[in-house]
């Protein structure tokens, strides 16, 4: 067990938040504070560092209970505005997934498909207070005899609507390029042939899991900013890979940790849950997510001082390698280089573009900072930390 000069507990920090005395800074601000004052002084001074990310996050969706307006039916198939929801849960419990397209969507039959409306758009429309067309079909039972219900509903009509995202907030991600001679339409956006552009998708030094790379403060029960409201970390997400190779300061050199998160949809905001259409790929949802990192000791001050220069991102070919299941890295670049607008691959200057909004990630970190500074948001102490790996340093 490391011996620290600064030792704070979640309870002590929450006490400070309650009395309005907590010092809260964003992950961007923390970089300069640690550079100026050193880790120990920074840890004494700062109690919480806020992070943020706003980007398309597949593996998102919502559990919805249709009642009490929808009764007498054991719904077997359900559509919201023509988008199928999974109804194999209970009579009127469904799950609407962000990447589900409309039933009659032409998909990629006219290539590249536009995927203009899907589950993410349904969630955004519900949050915006719009009316959504609900269709439920059933085979009929003695206790639930109805076979079809069609209704216009709003979020207010639904007694239960809970965002529950099995995989969000990726810790680092690939930078996608295309080395082939044809345009590639991928989930990383449209990639021009012969290294015409490079797309990346992380908020760098603001990324939640990059500010606590070994998940020393994050786990089941961590309270977070989710979709403009308050949410919680349930557990590690699907495809959580803490064993990814790391730099000396513990930053994974590629995709690593992920989170499964949840929150009451009714207190969220359509600004932070936005349906998106990815040309030739499908629909999804952009999710706003932010995590407060408690500065329990000087190590957490060091961890949260991670800067764009410290973050290494693998460059992967989505033209041939990725579809072939090859995890080959063409090169490795820093997030600072990606942010500069161009990177060099094999001597070629390649323009870079993000899929993840840095300016909105910063906005989330600032909102979370304000919530905590105002004493409106307390830290949730995790009941169990996420699976991790032994630390380098």
């Amino acid at each position: 067990m490391a011996h620290y000069q600064v030792n704070k507990t979640f309870q002590e920090i929450n006490e400070k938040i309650r009395s309005g005395k907590a010092v809260v800074v964003t992950a961007e601000e923390m970089v300069g504070i640690v550079r100026k004052h050193g880790e120990v002084k920074a840890a004494k001074k700062v109690d919480v560092v806020t992070t943020g990310t706003f980007s398309p996050m597949c593996s998102s969706g919502a559990f919805i209970n249709l009642g009490p307006g929808i009764s007498g039916i054991k719904a077997a198939q359900v559509w919201f505005n023509g988008v199928p929801a999974y109804a194999g849960l209970a009579a009127i419990d469904v799950y609407i997934g962000a990447t589900e397209p409309r039933s009659n969507d032409p998909l990629n039959t006219i290539y590249p498909g536009e995927f203009l409306y899907g589950g993410g758009h349904v969630i955004q429309d519900l949050l915006s207070g719009k009316t959504v067309h609900l269709v439920a079909e059933a085979y009929g039972t003695h206790c639930y005899p109805r076979k079809c219900i069609e209704r216009e509903i709003t979020l207010a009509d639904l007694p239960f609507a809970r965002l529950c995202n099995p995989r969000n907030s990726s810790q680092n991600y690939n930078c996608a390029v295309n080395v082939t001679d044809k345009t590639v339409y991928s989930y990383m956006g449209t990639l021009k042939p012969r290294l015409g552009n490079a797309n990346y998708c992380t908020s760098g030094q603001l990324n939640p899991l990059l500010n606590d790379p070994y998940y020393q403060t994050i786990g089941t029960g961590t309270r977070i900013f989710l979709g403009g409201g308050v949410g919680y970390v349930i557990s590690e997400g699907t495809q959580h890979h803490p064993d990814t190779p790391r730099t000396e300061r513990g930053i994974p050199r590629g995709t690593a940790g992920t989170l499964m998160v949840t929150g009451d949809l009714k207190q969220m905001d359509p600004r932070w849950l936005v349906g998106v259409s990815i040309l030739g790929y499908g629909c999804s949802m952009a999710v706003g997510l932010g995590i407060p990192i408690p500065i329990l000791n000087e190590e957490m001050a060091m961890r949260t001082a991670v800067s764009d220069e410290d973050i290494l991102v693998p460059v992967v070919d989505y033209g041939r390698d990725y579809p072939d299941g090859k995890n080959r890295h063409l090169s490795e670049v820093t997030y600072a280089q990606l942010r500069s607008g161009s990177i060099s691959i094999d001597g070629k200057e390649v323009p870079t573009a993000p899929l993840s909004s840095y300016i909105r990630a910063r906005e989330i970190a600032k909102i979370l900072k304000k919530w905590i500074s105002d004493g409106r948001f307390l830290l949730g102490e995790p009941q169990e930390l996420l699976p991790s790996q032994p630390k380098h340093s």
Binding site: V274, I278, S284, A353, P354, L355
Partner: protein
């Protein structure tokens, strides 16, 4: 060199006239046609860059209007719907003229309609379809 990026709309009666050729021959103007199509009602739509001496360009515009062509600068035909733009920036890697670009300091995504050539690449690339281009949504059947 004076340059104008224009959207021209030709009424059905004049789509068979070689007006652009006249611009070049008579007024010594340079042109670059980025898009040209004839709609089912026989009206013509063209996106064109016109360059030359300022007086000559303006003379050319007067000539086109006198022939019945409706002329509009491209920047008046294109806008970003800022209410739905999520400021991701993916458009900036595709935009050939850097009309869509990023302020590297703030990472704000900026749209400068004056640099837009009306290529429409951004329209389907934008995940929330925030780019609105008037001439691509013109009614085809009149």
């Amino acid at each position: 060199m004076y340059k104008k990026m224009l959207v021209l709309r030709f009424p059905a009666e004049i789509t068979d006239k070689p007006l652009i050729c006249t611009l070049s021959r008579r007024l010594d103007l340079c042109f670059n046609i980025l898009k040209a199509k004839i709609l089912p009602g026989r009206e013509g739509l063209m996106v064109l860059e016109l360059s030359g001496h300022k007086n000559q360009v303006n003379e050319g515009l007067r000539y086109l209007k006198a022939q019945g062509v409706r002329v509009k600068p491209v920047e008046q035909e294109i806008r970003r719907n800022n209410d739905i733009c999520i400021q991701c920036g993916v458009c900036t890697g595709i935009c050939p003229t850097h009309a869509l670009h990023m302020n590297r300091e703030t990472m704000e995504v900026i749209f400068d309609p004056n640099r837009c050539s009306g290529c429409e690449l951004c329209m389907a690339i934008c995940p929330v379809r925030a780019m609105e281009i008037q001439f691509s949504t013109d009614k085809v059947l009149v």
